[in-house]
Symmetry: C2
Subunit: 480 residues, 2 copies
């Protein structure tokens, strides 16, 4: 079997074959870096992390490019409003690049913490101003764009394919687009390729149309084709960007090159919190940083991957807790297998070899089926149950244990990233329950009049850097 | 007193006053990101970290800009050789941006690990191609540059001030510069502003002179003045960049603007290893990552800051160990003072108040004297000795302890970054001595026939994720 992906462009699940044999070009819409990464980012970048890793696991070489939007993304989709980064910089009273740097580094760190591998490389919008200007010049030359007073707009009417991705046809759009303040557009659907910089607008560059800055959509057209070619394999992003962002990308790119743009469009669905759309303004925002305070990266990953990427993920505290409960069994089973790898008896166990082969096949089928990660996780849990059942009858031979451990390592560890490595677990034992036990023992010993033992506890803890404080509410401990 | 800095341009120690009252603009030559940060980087960025922090401590607002060189830095200073990043990308068989991303993130992480605050923002050469082209156009227009076959060179003879920073005069240069292969330069001193991209050269941009890429020097002229103004306060960098890099920056910038470029040039000296210049080719390279395996960030900082920034630092294993020995006394003294802050008696202690005032004054004098960090560290150690001597006679009053602790926090902690905060120790309690205690208690309880308590220990530890194993050699524990 081969990997099949749901292609938003054709609205069908299609077999994925790269344009150039053995090599995949993938572009994913990255963050606009004006605030901390949240669960919505985690879902999107986790989806494409698993996709890139799975493609590589099947032997393909993947060039995965992600953009960092550091200019031109306005607070309003209809070419009005303020640049999101400049707005944040004004609030923080710093240069816009300070906002960009702070949140870009936070994004890198949060992705690393979530065991999301970085793309092959990131590309910044501000790093490609010249190329964006060149693209606008080309679109003007071909009659797909027009300039009005330092602004350049894409003439949607000039591109027949507009709407083919999102399925939004002209009348719908006419109604959907709110009344335009800028009457200089020939048609409300038209969108900005280049915007005139008003006086005081900090992020500005010289252009044939005077000082200004690129529209948000053009950066992705320019950077994806620069690094992946005019036609490339996969364009990913959040469903909320399908219209207008991705629709505009297609229009710009195909109007300029006359060739098909991305072959597969892969869109991940959104995250809701307690059933309500997550949003900064709604105050129900869950940042990755917040989540990592309470949950392990593996728990967050298994929670996100337990919902298919094309379905909405509903975040509740209970749901993430429930998703994580299976992980303990998985980790425990893996640790046992690793232990048996060295301690187990010699010999074979055909039943385990068969179980491993069946499970690997089932896992491949799940992943090939449009990245069915919930199905893959179910397969892994079933495998753990079967191994545990077998272990009740006695230890496994070393070779069988090794094979079973390797299966978990490959699929649950490397691919899905839900397996905490024993090595990575160093120092992750929570001190609190152990200290609770020690304090309880000391109380028991006092009750049993074993005072010298009770005192020994206090003294030895002090040496270990822990101070006990007897209060009216009981004994508390703190690090010295 | 006011801060005095040695200005390489005037070859004297001068009082530093910012151009705009209360605000400092500082530009520091950042890394070319094609390899891991090493001790030479650590010395340079630590120097300017302390400078920026000290300027801020005195109440100045500092905009500190640092560049990331991701294009145009050739392996040979005389405009020959290969782009360092492209060369590394060829060796690694990846796109040059993969090299840039990998080492840029490593640089960010290593600087954070060394407690070096990030500059206000980083600027990348590839992010300012358009501005660099505009600068070259302006220099051509003013007659300071000439084009030959897609290459543009700065005409050194057209700028009278060339050599004023490094003191290298024309004849010396003529001899110093090796015989040029490119005869198209009018004079060997002339240097490239823009280079023609040969076929297959990946990092290329369109320009009025055809596809090419900027020379290394022009990025710093363009980016420093873009973000700090045509004349700005401080330009920092390693001494090895004074010639030709900084000399060329001055020539380009002042020829274009007709105004003075940086007012203060601050250069840090190099790092030698066992007395020999550190270099990749010499195999005596010490990466920051390597050093952090063996030493705490505070130990590395105190080692580097124990030599004045304008003197060469000689790295030996012994020297870094010796530099770190004083730190234990410092940390211990600080912990004692923090403890006394809450436990100490009420009342004042004028002698300690006097000691604090004298020490703060002496510290300020050391730092004002061209960042005399060795002098400042000596003052801190003397202060610790005096406090410890006083503590042999009994505890300090809380208020005195607070004042002394605050002094250390400000100067040794915030400014020099050589004080390990007790707060940073969270989670660093070693489990081993606590588990040793618990196992010993269990043995004691068994000996005392308190079997139910002994069993409770085993059961509760299991819940906490710790397994006890009774062996012939005693009881061992491991994380489950």
């Amino acid at each position: 079997m081969a990997i099949h992906l749901y292609n938003s462009l054709t609205r069908t699940k299609e077999e994925f074959r790269p344009l150039v044999e053995g090599q995949v070009g993938m572009y994913v819409c990255g963050p606009t870096v004006y605030g901390p990464p949240h669960l919505g980012h985690a879902k999107s970048y986790l989806t494409f992390d698993v996709l890139a890793k799975y493609l590589r696991q099947t032997g393909l070489k993947v060039r995965y490019v992600q953009n960092i939007t550091d200019v031109g993304h306005l607070t309003d989709d209809a070419d009005a409003g303020e640049d999101k980064i400049i707005k944040q910089a004004r609030l923080d009273q710093v240069h816009p690049w300070e906002v960009v740097d702070r949140y870009m580094r936070l994004y890198f760190d949060d992705m690393t913490a979530l065991r999301i591998a970085h793309p092959s490389f990131y590309v910044r919008a501000s790093q490609h101003i010249g190329e964006q200007i060149e693209a606008v010049v080309a679109l003007l030359k071909k009659g797909h764009a027009y300039e009005v007073d330092g602004n350049v707009y894409f003439d949607v009417g000039s591109f027949a394919g507009y709407g083919k991705l999102s399925g939004r046809v002209m009348d719908e759009q006419r109604e959907a687009v709110r009344v335009e303040a800028r009457s200089e557009k020939r048609h409300p659907r038209d969108f900005a390729l280049w915007k005139r910089a008003e006086p005081g607008h900090i992020l500005r560059w010289n252009s044939p149309w005077g000082p200004g800055y690129p529209g948000w959509h053009i950066e992705c057209s320019v950077m994806s084709t620069k690094y992946l070619g005019e036609t490339f394999d996969i364009h990913g992003g959040g469903l909320e960007n399908m219209f207008p962002h991705h629709e505009c990308e297609i229009a710009q790119s195909e109007a300029e090159t006359g060739k098909p743009f991305a072959r597969f469009w892969v869109h991940n669905n959104m995250v809701t919190v307690d059933g309500v759309k997550m949003g900064k303004s709604l105050g129900n925002f869950r940042t990755v940083r917040d989540l990592l305070q309470k949950h392990t990266p593996e728990a967050i990953r298994v929670f996100v991957l337990s919902t298919h990427y094309r379905s909405p993920t509903n975040y509740t505290e209970e749901a993430i807790g429930a998703a994580a409960t299976g992980l303990g069994r998985l980790t425990q089973c893996y640790a046992t297998l690793r232990d048996l790898e060295t301690r187990g008896a010699p010999g074979e166990e055909p039943a385990i070899a068969g179980l491993c082969a069946d499970t690997a096949r089932a896992l491949g089928e799940a992943m090939d089926n449009d990245l069915d990660t919930p199905g893959a996780i179910a397969q892994i849990y079933e495998f753990v149950t079967a191994v545990n059942r077998r272990l009740t009858t006695g230890p496994l031979p070393a070779a069988a244990a090794r094979e079973a451990a390797r299966l978990l390592h490959t699929w649950a560890g490397d691919l899905l990233g839900i397996l905490a490595e024993p090595a990575a677990g160093e120092g992750n034992v929570d001190l609190a329950p152990i200290m609770d036990l020690v304090i309880e023992l000391r109380k028991d010993l006092k009750a049993a009049k074993q005072f010298s033992l009770a005192d020994k506890i206090r003294d030895r803890l002090k040496t270990a850097g822990i101070v006990l404080e007897d209060t009216r509410d009981g004994t508390r401990w703190r690090k010295a």
